[in-house]
Amino acid sequence: MRETVIQVRNLVKSFGDLDVLKGVDLDLYKGENLVVLGKSGSGKSVLIKIMVGLLTQDEGSVKVLGKEVKDLSQKDLNALRLKIGFSFQASALYDSMTVRENLEFPLVRNVKNLSKSEKNQLVEEVLDSVGLSGTINQMPSELSGGQRKRIGIARTLILKPEIMLYDEPTAGLDPITCMDINNLINQVNEKYQTTSIIITHDLTCAKVTGDRMAVLLDGVFGAKGKFEEVFQHAQDGRVKSFYDYNFITQ
């Protein structure tokens, strides 16, 4: 039987009068890339933010690596977070720090007794993994959108996470850079043996990176399965229109 890394059951989350998640169930298996698709505002980002404890659910259960996230103490939550890499939609690089300082930030605070040479080696290794060795002393403001995404991913990789959560990794990028990022996600999965959830509304990204799709519709998963199963034989009109729209625009 496949090992479950993340298990979500009957997840409910509202913001005021707005019900965003209305009973979401999800299983993420070790080694797979699960793509969560949905319209803007459908609650995709909320779902993964609950998984890392940035938001708390109103009802339901979220177990990550066997631990119920909402019941963890701050210390245990931090220990769990070290095993999860979170790539933010807008990269969330620290503006006042260079690329090197951005990469060192989680390292120096979470790995004790690290010598300077070991630190440099780790920084260079992850920068090399994302193909941006030459940017080490640059400020985030000097980088392009695609480069910022890559550095954001590198910063999460430096702690060698078991799970990667990508929030809209290709949003706002040109098609060629999108393809580069998609390939990078696959390379990261292969090299670091990660299990990933990729939040997107870009079907090309979904097709290239995902082993399995889950489409979030009106607060619940409307369709799950492989890309072809979900989209090419779609019964639900909303899933079909999602596919058609992406097909037309791309």
Binding site: K49, V52, L54, N78, A79, R81, L82, I84, F86, F88, Q89, A90, A92, L93, Y94, D95, S96, F105, P106, R109, N110, R155, T156, L159
Partner: protein, 265 residues
């Protein structure tokens, strides 16, 4: 229907709720600072970086303002003293005014504008661009890194800046007195130090600590709780300045009462 609140009452009720919720949040924020400041990990490097930003980078503005305050205050005081033939009291008058009130107040108000707004805007923009969330998911305590370091830095640096402002303002006053009354530097400063007491210096330093704490805390609180994207960042910076200035005047008033109490003992 009788007994049902009208629209005006509802709006007023919401405002009162919002005010008290804001007070509660501010109390929790300050409480969290005191809970976290004592325990490791200590962000020494960030505290020093912030001390440099707050202290060193404020020097040009503080120098100019302090000097002008000294010159202008001396010039404005001279006619009143001249009426009684007491212009020789100018150094004493100026030193008391500068050390007891004007130095701390001018420094704190300038720092509230410069430092408070920059802290509010910086943390606010970090909040809306998810940089604070990024720190949290990398198992780092953003409150300790951003808030504790900035509040400590401003609490340490404002008293130092106040001492510097006092000195520069007195220098400005000396220039004015020297060219009008032909008083030498040593005579001027002997009169200055004769006029001020230990209580004047200590009360000035203690209230400056409070001013620094207030500026850092209000800037961090407004930035940390900013919402609504870039519009929220602007609002955070603006309200950080307004709130810090308001609180500084309240603290000045309170410190005056406390110092007067000790003066009468």
């Amino acid at each position: 229907m009788a007994g049902e609140p009208n629209k005006k009452d509802k709006v007023l009720g919401k405002r009162i709720d919002k005010f008290f919720m804001g007070l509660e949040n501010a109390y929790k924020f300050v409480k969290r600072f005191f809970q976290e400041v004592w325990f490791p990990p200590y962000e020494f490097k960030e505290v020093i970086r912030q001390c440099y930003q707050i202290g060193w980078n404020s020097l040009p503005l503080i120098s100019l303002t302090g000097f002008i305050v000294g010159v202008v205050f001396t010039n404005q005081s001279r006619p009143s003293l001249a009426e009684f033939g007491a212009t020789s009291w100018l150094p004493a008058l100026i030193s008391i005014a500068v050390v007891r009130a004007m130095g701390p107040l001018v420094t704190a108000l300038i720092a509230a504008g410069k430092v408070g707004s920059s802290i509010g805007a910086e943390i606010g923009s970090m909040k809306v661009t998810e940089q604070i969330d990024a720190m949290e998911v990398s198992a780092t305590n953003p409150f300790k890194f951003l808030v504790v370091s900035r509040v400590l830095a401003s609490t340490f640096m404002i008293p130092i800046l106040v001492l510097y402002t006092d000195f520069v303002a007195l220098l400005g006053a000396f220039v004015n007195v020297h060219f009008n009354e032909l008083v030498s530097l040593s005579t001027f400063f002997v009169q200055v130090f004769d006029a001020i007491s230990f209580l004047d210096i200590t009360s000035s330093m203690i209230k400056s600590l409070f001013f620094g704490f207030t500026i850092g805390m209000v800037g961090c609180y407004k930035g940390y709780n900013s919402t609504k994207g870039t519009e929220g960042v602007g609002k955070a910076a603006n309200s950080a300045v307004v709130m810090a200035m308001f609180l500084i005047f309240i603290e000045e008033l309170l410190s005056l009462q406390v110092t007067n109490f000790f003066r009468q003992l």
